[in-house]
């Protein structure tokens, strides 16, 4: 399958969701949708054969927005396995909530949990919200992956 072909296929499927499709040669397609539409968009991607998520990346743009990226690809269709589809959405900074995609992609169970733990994003419908994953149970304070959490550095570059 050609890159352009896949891109136009995704474009066609996502048209009514108001998705912005962009791509980076040779194999990365970016699909940007609003958080209300993300579950539907994920379902459609899954129907196309993008059956698992490789990474869930939450990005913090301080006082502006959060961006959550689902890096998905395919195991069942080896032709699609070459391609990576980044399903992304933006969340307002003061309300970092979005629906969990666990129903669509069970493979996000730990990934979403980690982003919740370290970035403070709330994935609604995820069964382990409020629990800690990597941080100690007693941790309180700013989620450490946010930019406002400063790492104390040592040595000559400090």
């Amino acid at each position: 399958m050609k890159f352009e072909e896949l891109k136009s296929q995704i474009e066609e499927r996502m048209k009514d969701l108001g998705a912005e499709i962009s791509g980076k040669e040779p194999n990365v397609v970016d699909v940007k949708v609003s958080r209300e539409k993300i579950v539907e968009a994920a379902k459609r991607l899954k129907e196309m054969g993008f059956d698992h998520v490789k990474a869930v990346t939450a990005i913090d743009y301080p006082n502006e927005r959060f961006e959550v990226v689902y890096v998905s690809s395919s195991y069942s269709n080896l032709e699609l396995a070459y391609f990576i589809v980044n399903l992304r959405t933006e969340l307002p900074y003061d309300d970092p909530k979005m629906p969990s995609l666990l129903e669509v992609w069970p493979s996000v169970l730990y990934q979403e949990h980690e982003e919740h733990d370290l970035m403070g994003i709330v994935f609604e419908g995820h069964p382990r919200m409020g629990e800690r994953l990597l941080l100690p149970e007693s941790y309180e304070g700013i989620p450490p992956l946010r930019k406002e959490f400063k790492v104390k550095t040592e040595g000559i570059n400090a």
């Binding site: 980076k24 194999n27 990365v28 059956d51 698992h52 998520v53 490789k54 990474a55 990346t57 990005i59 913090d60 990226v69 890096v71 195991y75 069942s76 080896l78 396995a81 070459y82 990576i84 980044n86 992609w105 069970p106 493979s107 996000v108 169970l109 730990y110 990934q111 980690e114 370290l118 800690r132 994953l133 990597l134 941080l135 100690p136 450490p144 992956l145 959490f149 790492v151 550095t153």
Partner: protein
């Protein structure tokens, strides 16, 4: 505990001979596991956060440390992501050298996993043999890179060192040793009736579940999914090499071990091809090679050891986003780097195979026996620091 209460909660780890740096919270009913939840994070070292304050070159050793037995995969995946952002392609000889180290690393990573698995089901012989036979490979890697485990061999634009003198012969000797050695493993361990009884039919992962749960590496291929990044999105020298993707259909603990064993044989094949076909040429991108001061450049040409050009210390990577994936010994390593053009990444997401496989603890142990917990754990080749990062 009241008498009516049937379930017993057992906390396996973090202080337990076979738990590793993690805790397994198991609810058991008699000898049957009702529910098991892995409690990870005991060795979390916040690689992703530290990457935001470190320079691009400093991150190479940082990303290697979590997966001690499988460092090349992390090294390579990270560098590939950076190279995608920089828009450079390393010279062919460097690509072959990367492949060479990656395959040496794959073999000793598989030995590591099989050894730990062996001792988890009680075979101290398998453990000792695997760790002993890991040694020649580590020594090969040491001769190539100068380090036993944390190689930091792969740098943006190429590799750090050229092939040492007479390396091909040493590799060939080790490969022949491994080939002669494998039958012994079958005799005493893989075909041992007790091993078979403990592993066959234990922790069965169906193809559908494997895909659905997004597991990776030999654990995925043991369930019959022929996905291997080396074939799906070929990188380094893999497009030019001839090898097969190893799959097994059974999906049980034994199939996972067998995938590793057969991958070792496949890696031997790859290493031989690499050494046969390796092209001559530079081992660092021309652009960077030019930046090395002339007198040092002469030394580089003589010794084959790269002296880093000054630009490396404050390497600036153009703004943008890149995803790179690499098939390591334990599975697929994914790096997702968002750069804003500064000297450190704006955000670096590092997803290791163990972190993606941790979901299997919950899935595979349901209804298994208590004694199956280590048998399943070991078969996943799960490495807690790698999952915690």
């Amino acid at each position: 505990m009241s008498l009516e209460e049937r379930e017993l909660e057992v906390l396996i780890g973090p202080q337990h001979p076979a738990s590793g740096h993690m805790r397994l919270v198991a609810k058991i009913d008699g000898d049957i596991v009702v529910e098991l939840r892995p409690n990870i994070g005991y060795v979390h070292r916040s690689v992703e956060k530290l990457a935001e304050v470190k320079k691009y070159l400093q991150i190479i050793p940082l990303v290697e440390r979590p997966s001690l037995a499988d460092t090349t995969a992390n090294n390579l995946a990270y560098v590939m992501a950076v190279e995608k952002l920089l828009g450079i392609e390393p010279p062919p000889r460097a690509q072959y050298l990367r492949t060479l180290l990656a395959e040496i690393n794959r073999i000793h990573s598989h030995f590591y996993g099989m050894g730990i698995h062996g001792v988890m089901i009680g075979s101290s012989t398998a453990y000792m043999w695997c760790f002993g036979d890991r040694e020649p490979l580590i020594e090969l890697a040491q001769e190539l890179t100068g380090a036993r485990l944390t190689y930091s061999y792969i740098v943006p634009g190429g590799v750090r060192r050229d092939l040492p003198q007479g390396f091909e012969d040493k590799v060939e000797r080790v490969m022949r040793y491994l080939e002669n050695r494998m039958p012994d493993y079958f005799d005493i361990y893989f075909n041992n009736p007790v091993t078979r009884a403990r592993l066959e039919g234990v922790g069965v992962l169906t193809k559908e579940d494997a895909i659905k749960l997004g597991v990776t590496g030999p654990n995925l291929r043991a369930s019959g999914v022929p996905y291997d990044v080396r074939k799906a999105e070929p990188y380094a020298a893999y497009p030019e090499l001839d090898f097969d993707v190893i799959t097994e259909e059974a999906g049980d603990a034994f199939a996972r071990v067998m995938v590793r064993v057969r991958e070792i044989q496949e890696s031997i094949k790859i290493i031989r091809q690499v050494l046969k076909n390796i092209p001559d040429g530079p081992i660092l991108d021309e652009k960077y090679m030019k930046m090395i001061p002339p007198n040092l450049r002469k030394q580089v040409e003589e010794t084959g050891h790269i002296k880093f050009p000054g630009v490396f210390a404050n390497l600036r990577v153009p703004a943008g986003e890149a995803v790179a994936r690499v098939e390591g010994g334990r599975g697929e390593v994914v790096f997702h780097i968002i750069s804003d053009g500064k000297m450190s990444p704006y955000r670096m997401r590092m997803v290791t195979p163990s972190f993606r496989n941790v979901i299997l603890f919950e899935h595979l142990t349901k209804g298994a026996r208590v004694a199956d917990i280590p048998a399943i754990y070991g078969s996943l080749d799960y490495f807690p620091p790698e999952a915690d990062r």
